[in-house]
Symmetry: C2
């Protein structure tokens, strides 16, 4: 099935907002075997919406739009597209009622007038329920089975509606056994893109006919294998076999697959082992605690932590020796070790994690350039520390420092002291 996407919004056209919906749609539909043959972006006026959707409809007979369903002034998507199908607009009593109830329940007052128009829909359309927001989606179809699915622009709402209604709907219309595009991602931490390519050698350009892409991010470099030509029933085995070959080359730098979050993996590991955890953060200022507690249920493991930004706090709250600060500086092995142990003892946990570093832009020296980070893991009294020189700007260095700490916890569980890929001297 060929399909076209029309993303609606002056925001997108002028680049005021980033179109995350198009990427999500492309990914989900490709996995289904639906091919996106064209993508258009148009502004918030009825004419360009009608023109873009009409053209797309004439080419493929199947169009998904995103955006233009919200409560504010710039919403004319529904009437513009209804006009293509020669349909008028009618008030949907059920939508109006659910909007009114939602507002009363959520905000404790009545639906503002500016939101009432969200209950207007094209004649003879199918309503697509919105679990995540107030604006429902619309499915319009004519006698020739040409259809337009109108989804909200808010990514969370669009994604929910795509999964709840549009994808099941499309699956019913697709022939079985056609080729699908499926990917398997292996997530690595603390090793550079080019070092991965060197480890992979011959496999660096592709594995068993699957493409291999390198996706560097703050979590690390993701390795993605993609199958473009096989039917759904064969792809999983092919991807699994290729992933195994990559694992053999890259080894323990791989911490997970897909959208595995290293913080969530470590929390599960701690919970399985019945271990509790506390953090002591200097340069990351709470980011590691934030990442750990972002995971629902983290309270079973995470007791708390100390944000020890000032050196006086490191000494008073974590028992860092003033002498170590004077002699080695705040970014040093003894200070990181003392912070980890200080957190473990202060919060009475099994694990203490200490992070101290120079996030920049200032504070670097020839001996300790910006990006220098010391991380220490105290696991039931056994302390391991490592230094890395992390690339990037302040925010990247901070995020990578938190990711490094989580990765060193993983290594500590594995009794594994592989060097850090960021630096030959780590």
């Amino acid at each position: 099935m060929n399909i076209e996407i029309v993303t609606i919004g002056d925001e997108l056209l002028l680049g005021f907002t980033i179109d995350t919906n198009a990427a999500h749609l492309a990914r989900e539909l490709a996995a289904l075997g639906v091919r996106i043959v064209r993508r258009a972006t148009c502004g918030d006026d009825a004419d360009s919406i009608a023109t873009a959707v009409r053209e797309a409809l004439e080419r493929t007979g199947a169009v998904i739009t995103t955006g233009g369903l919200g409560p504010t002034a710039d919403d004319m998507t529904k009437p513009a597209i209804a006009s293509i199908f020669g349909r008028g607009m009618v008030l949907d009593a059920a939508i109006l009622q659910s909007l009114e109830e939602r507002w009363l329940k959520r905000f404790g007052h009545e639906l503002p007038a500016s939101n009432r128009q969200q209950a207007m829909v094209p004649e003879a359309c199918t309503i697509l329920p919105n679990r995540h927001g107030s604006a429902p989606g619309i499915w319009l179809e004519d006698a020739q089975q040409r259809w337009v699915a109108m989804l909200p622009g808010v990514p969370r709402e669009m994604r929910g509606m795509l999964a709840d209604t549009v994808i099941p709907h499309l699956r019913d219309r697709l022939p079985a056994g056609g080729p699908v595009i499926r990917a398997r991602t292996l997530r690595t931490a603390n090793i550079a893109e080019s070092a991965l390519a060197d480890k992979l050698g011959k496999l660096a350009r592709g594995v068993n006919g699957l493409s291999l892409a390198y996706l560097p991010g703050n979590d690390g470099v993701d390795l993605r294998l993609t199958s473009y030509t096989q039917p759904a029933r064969e792809t999983e085995a092919t991807l699994t076999g290729a992933a195994q070959l990559v694992r053999e080359k890259v080894g323990r730098f791989i911490y997970g697959e897909g959208d595995d979050d290293l913080a969530a993996l470590m929390l599960t590991e701690c919970a399985t082992r019945g271990l509790t955890l506390a953090v002591a953060e200097s340069c990351t200022g709470g980011m590691l605690g934030m990442r750990l507690t972002a995971v629902p249920g983290s309270s079973r493991v995470v007791q708390g932590g100390t944000i020890a930004y000032a050196n006086a706090v490191k000494v008073r709250e974590l028992g860092v020796a003033q002498g170590d600060l004077d002699e080695h500086g705040a970014v040093s092995e003894p200070v990181a070790r003392a912070m980890a142990t200080g957190a473990r003892l202060r919060f009475g946990t099994n694990i203490g994690i200490g992070i101290t570093g120079i996030a920049g832009p200032d504070g670097g020296t020839p001996e300790k350039p910006v990006g220098t980070v010391w991380v220490a893991i105290d696991l039931d009294g056994e302390v391991r520390a490592v230094r890395a020189i992390l690339p990037g700007d302040r925010s990247e260095i901070r995020y990578r420092a938190a990711q490094l700490a989580l990765d060193r916890l993983r290594r500590a569980f594995e009794r594994d002291q592989d060097p850090v890929g960021w630096t030959a001297r780590g």
Copy 2:
């Protein structure tokens, strides 16, 4: 000047990555008066790159590409585009040397073979230096002044190169006094989009002929005024006048303009007043500390904080009364107040900020639904507390809770107790 953008990468075509570069380019070029007439996305193969760029070049004679300049296997942008101009590839000694020096300095070892090809460039091209990465950009131009600017795909590198070289280059070629697209953004916090529309009344649809867009995000709702038709010398005054009208309607819900960060504004405010700050975080788990310390120089103000995730930690570290926990629960006014004061006293600061809430997905009750957050500000012993019921999923609720805390600090400085827009009962 009309221009076309070609973004390169299988990632983008399949939606595996989100195209943030296109949005940034559109914004920067619109502000310059350059019009983007078309945007294409193509995959990482020489043919489709050459085809897309050749077509664009024939239409406008001016093309910017992003992506395909990295060290990994899927990079053929430079040779593909050189072929359009009938140029071969040559090794650039200066680039090779800088690459070698950069690697030795940064990573302590020699340039991997896989990175050497970054030093290959088209014959007779202009090198665009890359302050932020190893892959330089390329400017290719023929006798008819038709040009292609090749920029890296990594957003930070692309943005730096655009600002350093491409925009100055384009400015020289543009006629003076033409219409430009300029925008002014007013940032609001803790008020809903529809409540803003109601406050703005007649202005809700536009101000003095300028469009007004509502951009809801986790920081709050941004209000953006945009001028599309005026020459550069007139736009600033028009935007300033319109912004003033909006400020009169929306009042103190506006905390800043442009990309102002509320954390950075509050740090400046504290520094100006000579005040120090400490945090006590439960549901946000360190996010407020993370946001504050994300700002360079924050150490003058931020001493540290306590991540008090477990109730036992709230009692032991912050002096929260066990009786209040038993009687009112962890998400309650007395607990938030005690956390704020506990942080101020423990870290010996002027300001203590306490956050406690139910981020979900579990833990909600009819009396305290998911999203219920109590925030308290202790400013030199004077404690203010507020409750809000924040919308969104776990991560949105957490981010909004930190933003709410920063906004209440702002209100505390203003001795201002406007209710929270998220709830009629806040």
